[in-house]
């Protein structure tokens, strides 16, 4: 019997993930070797730091928790299902995930608004940034839609998505787990791999060089060493 899946399905769920991972590893390594100092979030915090707070803080706390949740469901699906086997634990987990997903979305929208609203920020925003923000917005929105519409995503992620992802890891992709999913779930999956492939070309690389010592180092007060009036007149 020939493959029961169309070429497009095999391309999107069987090949795209490998292309994305290949590009991810190749370009992150090349970029680190060739443009070492481009490994930065290119923070614009010095240009504007009030509205910035309402973007980065909810976005980062939200996305870290949500990605950790996906990782846990991928790594230990049986344990997750055991946790979800008791109804109140399932509700706590799903409601917590929903709260952090809304925080992520709020932060992301604020970050986009900030980039558009402040001329200084707009000046340092590239097309790549906009494309990345759009992809992230699509991803988070699709994720929230899926969580609300097809509930108990944590459970069926463990039963359907985890085996699919493990089949990719084992280089024997079984895309049958994905084929029957609603199109919004498929969009979420495809876009995830697109973001992974796009990752090394963007400021997202700062994820790979997180300055962990910041968590325990002593606080620093940064002060401008300049004459404000001269600085203003020179711009």
């Amino acid at each position: 019997m020939s493959s029961p899946f169309s070429n497009l399905e095999q391309l999107l769920y069987g090949i795209l993930p490998y292309v994305a991972m290949f590009v991810f590893f190749l370009v992150t390594i090349i970029r680190y070797r060739v443009h070492t100092f481009s490994y930065s979030s290119l923070s614009s915090q010095f240009l504007e730091n009030q509205f910035h707070f309402w973007g980065v803080v909810p976005f980062h706390y939200g996305i870290i928790v949500i990605l950790t949740g996906h990782l846990v469901a991928f790594l230990i699906p049986s344990q997750l299902l055991a946790w979800n086997g008791v109804p109140w634990r399932l509700y706590v987990l799903e409601l917590s995930a929903l709260i952090f997903a809304f925080l992520t979305l709020t932060g992301l929208v604020n970050l986009m608004v900030r980039r558009k609203k402040y001329s200084k920020i707009l000046e340092v925003t590239t097309k790549t940034d906009w494309l990345l923000l759009f992809l992230l917005l699509l991803q988070v929105s699709a994720g929230i839609y899926v969580a609300i519409t097809y509930r108990w995503g944590s459970s069926w992620f463990a039963t359907s998505m985890s085996p699919y992802l493990w089949s990719l890891v084992k280089l024997n992709p079984d895309i049958s787990y994905v084929i029957g999913m609603p199109w919004m779930v498929k969009l979420h999956i495809i876009n995830a791999f697109v973001i992974i492939g796009f990752f090394p070309f963007t400021r997202l690389v700062h994820v790979l060089v997180v300055p962990n010592p910041y968590l325990w180092r002593k606080t620093q007060v940064v002060r401008w060493y300049r004459d404000r009036q001269i600085s203003r007149s020179s711009v």
Binding site: M1, S2, S3, P4, F5, S6, Q10, I15, Y18, V19, F22, V27, H35, L42, S43, S44, Q45, L47, F53, W54, V57, P58, Y61, N84, G85, P87, L95, S96, L98, I99, F100, F102, L103, K120, V124, K127, T128, Y150, R151, W152, S155, W156, A158, T159, S160, P163, L171, P173, D174, I175, S176, Y177, I179, G180, M181, P182, F198, F201, T202, V221
Partner: protein
Amino acid sequence: MKRIIGNQLTSGKRTLFDRSLFLLKSPLKTITFFMLFGLILGYGSPAQSQDIAQTFKQNCSSCHWIGGGRLIGPDLKNVSQRKDRDWHVRFILDPKAMIDSGDPYAKKIFAEAKNVLMLKVPGMTAKLANDLLDFIEAESKLDSSQFAGKKVALGPFSAEDAAKGLELFTGRTKLENNAPGCINCHTVNSVGGSLGGRLGPDLTQVVARLQGRTAITSWLSAPPTATMKSQFQNKPLNEQEIKSLVAYFESSANNDRYNFDSSIIWIAVIFCGFGGSLFGLILFSGIWGKRFRAVRHPLVKLSKIRGES
């Protein structure tokens, strides 16, 4: 001249995406790239090879028998005598399109199935449809086909059967072959309509929808939908589990106790999500909101005073 705002270079907005095109400017790197890409492509499609009987079992047997009588769809014994081969191939390839086209026979069998639409099998080809029809023809000539169907007890189920079914449905009792519990994707009213999963359909009236105990039993023995097939084809339900689940579905269909619009509860949960995120924002603001104002602003204020004086 390059201009820097903050720590960012703003002149010439060449992104790393543009710069990465150097990969394609070097012949050696390009060849390496496409060789690796070719390797990826060449790892081959996942092994899907299986014999035609297995294909029939996984895709057809939950709705059709061969010589056992009508199930959800018609008995397929001698089906080739009802219409010509070309018609059958076209119908198998896309049942909905045939019905929508107004084909009288397609509409007739759709009505006889009480408007349960035959699923379009992923990856179905004309060749595979012909192979299936050849297989059905060969099975039709046998005294008793392997797909003639199983007899299902028609007597009433016990309360114990239904209770066991509930345990299996909710996952509190593990399925023998470690397939996931139904509640991950489905709901029925008697577990509280708001509490079951929503990836798959509500199963409260599934017995009536699939036209009876026999059909649902057959469905559960080889679930044909893509999502369920991936879960159950290697972890099938055993006969006792199917019996318990069918008993539970039958009892749920007649249980009015939880027959309310559960979507309200779910909407409340979503609003709790909104509320929780709002609380989170307030919390963040409370903890870190003054992080700049508390240190930097007094310093800025002080420097302004000093500057003015």
